[in-house]
């Protein structure tokens, strides 16, 4: 219950944040501008709208996850509100979990609003059925999963580092996470056992964000652009991976945060 109260407050704080509004407005503008871009694409107007819309949702969502996520704990420390909060019967783990849930709720609302904007753009433009429009929603959900994972990475760094460094580390991990499969390829190519082992360990250790980008050798956005259904089993595996990995990162963040001395 305490975690939920913190989550509610974090959500309210995020909603009041002007940067957040600007980003949402920017995403909506991109979706609308994709309508104009579609005119240049010779017969692929709706596909361009879906591609630009979903990419905007993903990029803006990632920016929110990183730049709000890195300040989640740091801001509380800087404003010293954390002292008042932790002096009450609130465990540090609950505090972190509440903060995480609050940002997740913000991201969910953002993704939902942006997806609704995208669907509205498509329906207003015409040429697509309701069923085709709705087939885009699983892609939005997968993006949300990816954002949940990115937020947990940002949260871990936020517990022990400054916002600038946390942003840098999170963005590095985000990029590495997209090339994670290369580590496995390098491991398979490397004949020397220990190096192979290290590379393989890194592959499982680092967040694999390409899990949320590719399904059956096609990118999620690509499949959505052609209104191809995304395999429900694949989505279930992605959900499980996101929940487990985020859970591990939250546990790590709690462990680090619990050891911090606020004196």
């Amino acid at each position: 219950m305490t975690a939920l109260a913190i989550a509610r407050n974090t959500f309210r704080e995020c909603i009041r944040d002007k940067i957040l509004y600007n980003l949402v407005l920017f995403a909506l503008l991109m979706i609308v501008s994709s309508y104009a871009l579609g005119q240049l694409s010779l017969g692929h107007e709706n596909k361009v709208i879906v591609d630009v819309g979903l990419s905007a949702i993903s990029i803006i969502g990632t920016l929110i996850a990183v730049f709000i996520g890195i300040g989640l704990v740091y801001k509380e420390l800087e404003k010293r509100t954390v002292y008042a909060l932790l002096s009450k019967p609130v465990r540090r783990g609950e505090f972190l979990f509440g903060k995480y849930l609050g940002l997740l709720l913000t991201l969910f609302v953002n993704v939902a609003v942006m997806s609704a904007g995208l669907l509205a753009t498509l329906l207003l433009r015409g040429g697509v059925s309701w069923q085709e429009c709705l087939s885009i929603l699983p892609a939005s959900y997968v993006m949300f999963l990816s954002l949940a994972l990115t937020t947990s990475v940002a949260l871990v760094f936020s517990t022990f580092s400054t916002p600038a460094l946390s942003a840098l580390f999170t963005l590095f991990l985000w990029i590495i996470g997209h090339y994670n499969s290369d580590l496995l390829s390098f491991a398979q190519m490397n004949a020397w056992g220990p190096v192979r082992g290290i590379l393989r360990a890194l592959y499982y250790l680092l967040p694999n964000l390409s899990n949320f980008t590719w399904v059956d050798s096609r990118s999620i956005i690509h499949s959505a652009g052609y209104y191809r259904p995304i395999d429900a089993v694949a989505i279930a595996w992605m959900t499980l991976y996101a929940v487990l990995y985020s859970g591990c990162l939250l546990a790590l963040a709690t462990w680090v945060f619990a050891r911090r001395d606020f004196k």
Binding site: S41, H44, K47, V48, D51, H178, S219
Partner: protein, 320 residues
């Protein structure tokens, strides 16, 4: 509000507006200076499709759209193309990257191959690159008969390789969803390769099926050019008949009407009279013609004249 404050607000607004207009003027001057620089070197910063796909970080579908639109702009901006050392040097590269980023976008293969294959000034004049692009599409979509149809079209029209075109269309006709006329097209091409009838059928189909204005216009221009060629060759045929009958070429095309061979002298599809050379007996399009003319290959002319001769022989036979 105090008058002084109103005055200050007014002065600030005037100043802001004046600055904005000066800013526009300054930007226009900068743009003028950059006219040549805007054309820039004809560079393709990333030439490896695999490399671009790797760098896309999962946004490959959006990048494919960007590359496709870049290819369209690259092809469509004729004023820029004129200033390049090689007009469409990077068109094939752009289409290759776009099709690697999104291998399912049929328009890249279909329209892209048209952009590449059509001769200058309509296209890049690179039919082999067009075949390569279509082969890439066929590799990815082996059951898509339209790609095979387009490939056969390039062999037929641009390479004049009627046998290969017929073979490709024969394969296309066997694919699921292929229209019935495909088999007829293949048979016609394989039996009397070079026949102008096949060419007319192809352009008519492209004219009827194309949803894009510029492709429709291109097909229309080809059909009009064939019509003009047929009329010219028919006139030349009668000129030869006139010469055979009277021992010399007619002095003007009107003489054919006088000799009872024609009811009237036709004009080209734009309504401009044909030019006639009474020394060689050849009929040309006038320089004042309004049609966008695409010259037909010599084999078409031979096939058409052969057809006219057979018609004449058939007509004369009962008289004998």
């Amino acid at each position: 509000m105090k008058p002084r404050r109103v005055l200050r607000t007014l002065a600030s607004s005037v100043l802001a507006l004046a600055s904005a207009s000066v800013l526009v003027a300054v930007q226009m001057r900068i743009d003028e200076r950059l006219v040549d620089a805007a054309a820039g070197p004809d560079l393709l910063y990333f030439s490896s499709p695999a490399g671009v796909k790797k760098l896309a970080l999962g946004y490959d579908s959006m990048l494919a759209d960007i590359y496709w639109m870049r290819a369209i702009q690259y092809y469509g901006r004729r004023d820029l193309a004129e200033r390049r050392p090689v007009r469409y040097k990077n068109l094939a590269g752009l289409l290759d990257i776009a099709s690697s980023l999104d291998p399912d976008m049929m328009e890249i293969y279909r329209s892209g191959s048209t952009f590449l294959a059509e001769p200058d000034p309509v296209g890049a004049g690179q039919p082999q690159e067009a075949v390569n692009l279509l082969d890439k599409g066929i590799d990815r979509h082996p059951l898509e008969w339209r790609l095979q149809y387009d490939k056969g079209f390039i062999y037929f029209w641009h390479f004049k390789d009627f046998h290969e075109a017929g073979k490709v269309w024969l394969n296309a006709g066997r694919l699921p969803g292929a229209p019935d006329w495909m088999a007829g097209l293949a048979a016609s091409t394989l039996s009397k390769g070079g026949a102008i009838e096949t060419a007319k059928m192809l352009w008519r189909r492209q004219f009827e099926d194309s949803t894009r204005a510029e492709l429709k216009e291109n097909a229309r221009n080809h059909l009009i050019s064939i019509q003009a060629d047929e009329e010219r060759w028919t006139l030349e045929h009668f000129v030869e008949q006139f010469a055979a009958r009277y021992g010399s070429f007619p002095r003007s095309l009107e003489d054919l009407v006088g000799a009872g061979m024609l009811h009237y002298v036709p004009r080209d599809p734009s309504g401009t009279p044909y030019r006639y050379d009474c020394i060689t007996g050849e009929v040309f399009l006038s320089p004042e013609t309004q049609i966008t003319y695409f010259p037909a290959p010599e084999v078409y002319r031979e096939a058409y004249r052969h057809k006219l001769s057979s018609l004449r022989d058939r007509r004369e036979k009962p008289a004998k």
